[in-house]
């Protein structure tokens, strides 16, 4: 029998039980991204003693807390800058950054572009739910033109940010975009991102039924 990586088995191995239950709402896609990541880690056999999860502020930035590994839950937007320091101090560590659209492309955009430009060896997993979910559904830089948010009650008049195109232009070594409704390919994509030396970014479209859904 081949070893089947069920979510249940992976969760037992990689989740930090003390932190259960999560803060995520019903219908949130963040847990799915965590599943993809666990699958990829298992496939690669990453040493969890040598893997550090870094995040900023927001719902997606809570993910490192649920993983049984070193985690640095930092300030809003700054995860990639913190991660740069960790990698510099100990290049043997694998660095995975969990971030959201607001954290990564709004307040943290400057750190994102420069880490991509410098080609710092890290994998950034950006979960894009097009909203500031944790604070209740305010307008995000990735929100489509015309979309409704608590801070755009008459419709968004700004053009959205395409983060994949941005980091591609900066020479990122691996860039991918998926939604959390893709069942298998995203797992392989996270694996490819982790395997790729240098800066990689994987974006996941993810629903936010509570905050974003409320406005729509």
């Amino acid at each position: 029998m081949p070893d089947i990586k069920t979510a249940d088995k992976l969760n037992k191995k990689y989740l930090r039980g003390d932190m259960w239950p999560t803060i995520f709402c019903n219908g949130c896609g963040h847990g799915v991204v965590l599943d993809y990541t666990f699958w990829a880690i298992e496939e690669l056999g990453l040493d969890m003693d040598k893997t550090v999860f870094v995040s900023g502020i927001g719902c997606s930035s809570r993910l490192p807390g649920y993983i049984n590994a070193d985690g640095l839950h930092t300030t809003h937007g700054r995860a990639i800058a913190f991660a740069t320091g960790i990698k510099a101090a100990n290049p043997d560590l694998n660095i995975i950054v969990f971030t959201g659209d607001g954290d990564c492309s709004g307040i943290g955009g400057n750190h994102l572009i420069h880490a991509a430009r410098r080609n710092i060896d890290m994998t950034v997993i950006m979960i894009n739910n097009f909203t500031y979910g944790m604070t209740g559904g305010q307008l995000s830089p990735t929100a489509p033109l015309g979309s409704i948010a608590t801070t755009a009650p008459y419709g968004n008049i700004e053009h959205p940010f395409d983060i994949c195109e941005l980091v591609k232009a900066l020479g990122a070594n691996y860039v991918a975009r998926w939604t959390v409704s893709h069942p298998y390919r995203p797992m392989k994509s996270v694996k490819a991102g982790l395997e790729k030396k240098g800066f990689s970014l994987i974006e996941f479209f993810s629903p936010c039924p509570t905050a974003c859904g409320n406005s729509i």
Partner: protein
């Protein structure tokens, strides 16, 4: 591969034992001597020479220099590097220091050892970039939001720029708190003679690494191996699987954001770990205090003209003394209280409109007269200007 401090290599890179160098470069030397292996910085006058000095020397001692995209990123990378196992520092001036304030608090809350050199210039805002000031003394103490204890040193000579940077690392490592070296444009851009201490005369303190069983280790509580409120340090990559957050956290490091006792317990520990040691920390220089009736309470660059004014007065037989705060934060409460009980007047010369004069007044508690002697605009006090304060003006 992790950095390992190599005293011989460091001395080879620093060069001759006696040198005539800038204060900014002396901060570089202090960092290297202390075993700093990561510098994240951003150019800013009058602190740029610290970054330049590090960029030139840090790779040669097998450390890492990175010019970050801004000062927010600089302090973030410095904190990240500390968790990766490095002794790390940055250097900046007022505008950059303002940008660092949020992550300064993050370093406090996560008990991250790191050093921030602030070569102060006049403000507010862009101010006078090339001119010295002491306008960020209160910002170092209160600049980030919430309750915390600051540790800050203020050098008055180029030699002290070096020595206090070493000391800043020692205090950061000992207390697991960010430590500020509050120099100023006058010190940063002054050239003076410095003597590099021999290895045997150099006191180096390193953080205590976590060593106990991983199952039994509790990352955010009193040390489990020593009698200390400072927990042992679980460097990332050593298998402790520590979760570090700026949120109020419990002893295990997990968010505990909805209960009052959790917050009080944490914040009281991370503040009293410093204030409990106030007597050990207090670091002052006393000049002519045995018989002095009028005393300058000074720190940093402004101690120099104050000392000259004191000597002028002594030459005329006036009973004038000086108390110089080498460590400004935590504030030397007992020293000020004792002084106030013995003297008639305290004069506080500062290159700001009056900052450290406030805690002086607070702890003098009316026992003697306290006079602020401010001077702003990037010029140091002249000795005769301060001498006038001795005549009652």
């Amino acid at each position: 591969m992790m950095y390992k401090r190599d005293p011989e290599l460091i001395r080879e890179v620093l060069g001759k034992k006696v040198q005539f160098i800038l204060g900014d470069i002396a901060c570089v030397y202090g960092g290297l001597l202390a075993g700093c292996s990561f510098f994240g910085g951003y150019p800013i006058t009058p602190a740029s020479e610290v970054a330049e000095g590090m960029a030139r020397r840090l790779p040669r001692v097998k450390g890492t220099y990175i010019q970050m995209e801004d000062e927010i990123g600089s302090i973030a990378a410095v904190i990240g590097a500390a968790w990766g196992g490095a002794k790390s520092m940055t250097a900046t001036s007022g505008p950059g220091f303002s940008l660092m304030m949020e992550n300064y608090g993050y370093a406090v809350m996560t008990e991250t050892p790191c050093v921030i050199v602030n070569i102060q210039r006049t403000g507010p805002s862009t101010g006078q970039p090339t001119l010295g000031a002491q306008g960020d003394m209160m910002q170092a103490r209160w600049g980030t939001h919430g309750d915390f204890e600051a540790i800050a040193l203020a050098p008055s000579t180029v030699q002290e720029c070096m020595d206090f940077t070493v000391e800043a690392f020692n205090l950061a490592e000992k207390y697991r708190n960010p430590v500020c070296v509050m120099a100023d444009g006058e010190m940063g851009h002054l050239r003076e003679r410095v003597v590099i201490p021999d290895e045997k005369d150099l006191k180096i303190i390193n953080r205590v690494p976590a060593t106990i069983d991983k199952d039994k280790f509790i990352p955010f509580t009193n040390s489990q191996t020593r009698n200390s409120k400072v927990p042992d340090f679980p460097t990332f990559g050593t298998g402790y699987h520590t979760y570090v957050t700026g949120l109020t956290h419990n002893e295990k490091g997990f968010p505990a954001t909805d209960k009052q006792p959790d917050h009080e317990k944490l914040v009281k520990r991370i503040t009293t770990k410093i204030t409990d040691d106030i007597d050990k920390l207090t670091n002052v220089e006393k000049l002519y205090l045995d018989d002095a009736k009028t005393v300058f309470v000074t720190y940093g660059a402004s101690a120099r003209p104050a000392e000259s004014a004191m000597e002028m007065a002594r030459a005329k037989g006036k009973k004038v003394g000086m108390l110089r705060l080498k460590l400004v934060w935590p504030f030397p409460v007992k020293e000020i209280q004792e002084l106030a009980s013995k003297v008639d007047k305290i004069i506080v010369p500062e290159m700001n409109l009056g900052q450290i004069v406030h805690p002086v007044r607070e702890y003098v508690e009316g026992q003697c007269k306290v006079v602020s002697a401010p001077k702003i605009g990037g010029e140091m006090h002249l000795p005769h200007e301060l001498y006038k304060y001795l005549e009652g003006k």
